[in-house]
Amino acid sequence: MLTKRLIACFDVKNGMVTKARQFQDNIDIERAEAIASKIYEEQIDEIIFYDIMASAEKREIDLEMVRAVARQVFVPFTVGGGIRNLDDMYRVLKSGAEKISIDSMAVRNPKLIEEAALAFGSQCVVLSMQVKKVEKTAKMPSGYEIMIDGARVATGIDALEWAKRGEGLGAGELCVNSIDRDGTHTGYDLEITGLISENVRIPVIASGGAGKPEHLLEVFTQTQASAGIISSLLYSPRLERNYAVKELKTYLASHGIPVRPWIE
């Protein structure tokens, strides 16, 4: 049986992993490759790194960082942040990443999703979407809006509509990140994660808000999410208690969630 995935996701700034709350107040934690190596040894299922300054500084992703991480991890590795075109994607993939994550750039130029899927295959393309709860209106029927540029800019695009469009254009996975929950440790947004995962046929990754193991259980039992992003749970300096991957998996397995078992 295909298992539910736990994905460690980190923001990287100048080669350092940093942790923010609702896209503000960053705290530096450790070098990207050191965290990657540690979390790989902990048997995480997958790793995502976002080069959070690449986009703002209008520069290419830190490929040295990508290479350094890729030498340490032998589970799938996704890279995002500042990817502008197919050339950028090609360089990131050739530096040892398996997948690329696109976000604001895909909203500005949806054809990028299609081109990437054709060039590298859908499995390489993770469409990451920043969603914010808004009032349900005729224009925003899901009650969630797509935000871009570090979640600062509203687009007027309905989240569910964008998810379906992304699937149609060839995205291989959707990462649904709740801006309202990001860094709050209050649990994933089950409403939008549920809505999107029920309405697309590609895997959906739940993101934003996991603060305790119960939040993972909730999202895997109450929505059709295929994976959950955890970062605070593993390393947040703001949480009272961090968890090892093994503990999280043992907990989920004991509640009947299929996970890749721990290997002694």
């Binding site: 032998f74 589970v75 993939l93 295959g121 499995q123 895997p203 994976a227």
Partner: protein
């Protein structure tokens, strides 16, 4: 020394990283002429079967690979799409493949969430040098929308369930292949790569 074929759509760097972690001597190969220097070959794969076949043909790899693998019986490992293209035909954009193995490549049924992405269980049917030291069932990382359906059951070393039972591992003489990504399947995947290196080095298992 193992040659890892580097072509446009492949993830050769990931395979090389994994082999280096295991201290297995390897080199990226970007032209067919170089292939002769190696005692084993890995064909990595990501993306689509048509793009892979096209890319290999464009770079002129196919005749050289056929001489080395089919005639000279050089140990060969195909990964993911690198396994699919070994069959005769793929439903992915109606593609004619290499035809080294009898059978076709089919799309998963429509009702399933596709691509299958994630860790799934492989049940090994037999003991072979390729799965030496690995449990009868073990989890590996898959990313696929299509699966191979070999004509001969005998070449199937392991199977996996995703809506249906499909072929996940092949061992047919010198040809080895996995639908999952050995290079991205953690410790267990690395163990299989190590086994392949032992086969290349003609070590008993």
């Amino acid at each position: 020394m193992i040659g890892v074929i580097d072509y446009k759509a492949g993830n050769a760097p990931s395979v090389v990283n994994a082999l280096r972690r295991l201290n297995i001597a390897c080199q990226l190969v970007s032209t067919p002429e170089q292939l002769r220097n190696f005692s084993g070959v890995i064909l990595p794969g990501v993306g689509s079967a048509p793009a892979t076949v096209e890319s290999l043909a464009e770079l002129g790899f196919i005749p050289e690979l056929e001489t080395l693998v089919l005639e000279k019986k050089l140990p060969f490992l195909g990964i993911c799409v690198g396994m699919q293209i070994l069959f005769e035909h793929s439903e992915e954009r109606d593609t004619t493949c290499l035809g080294w193995l009898k059978g076709t490549v089919r799309r998963f049924p429509k009702e399933l969430r596709v691509p299958q992405i994630g860790w799934n269980k492989v049940n090994f049917r037999a003991n072979h040098c390729f799965n030496h030291g690995i449990n009868k069932s073990e989890y590996f990382y898959f990313v696929n929308s299509y699966y191979a359906a070999p004509e001969s059951e005998e070449i199937i070393l392991g199977t996996t369930e995703y809506g249906l039972e499909f072929c996940a591992v092949i061992a047919s003489e010198n040809i080895h292949a996995t639908q999952f990504h050995v290079e991205k399947s953690g410790i267990v995947g690395l163990k299989m790569l190590q086994n392949f290196a032992a086969i290349v080095g003609d070590k008993s298992c």
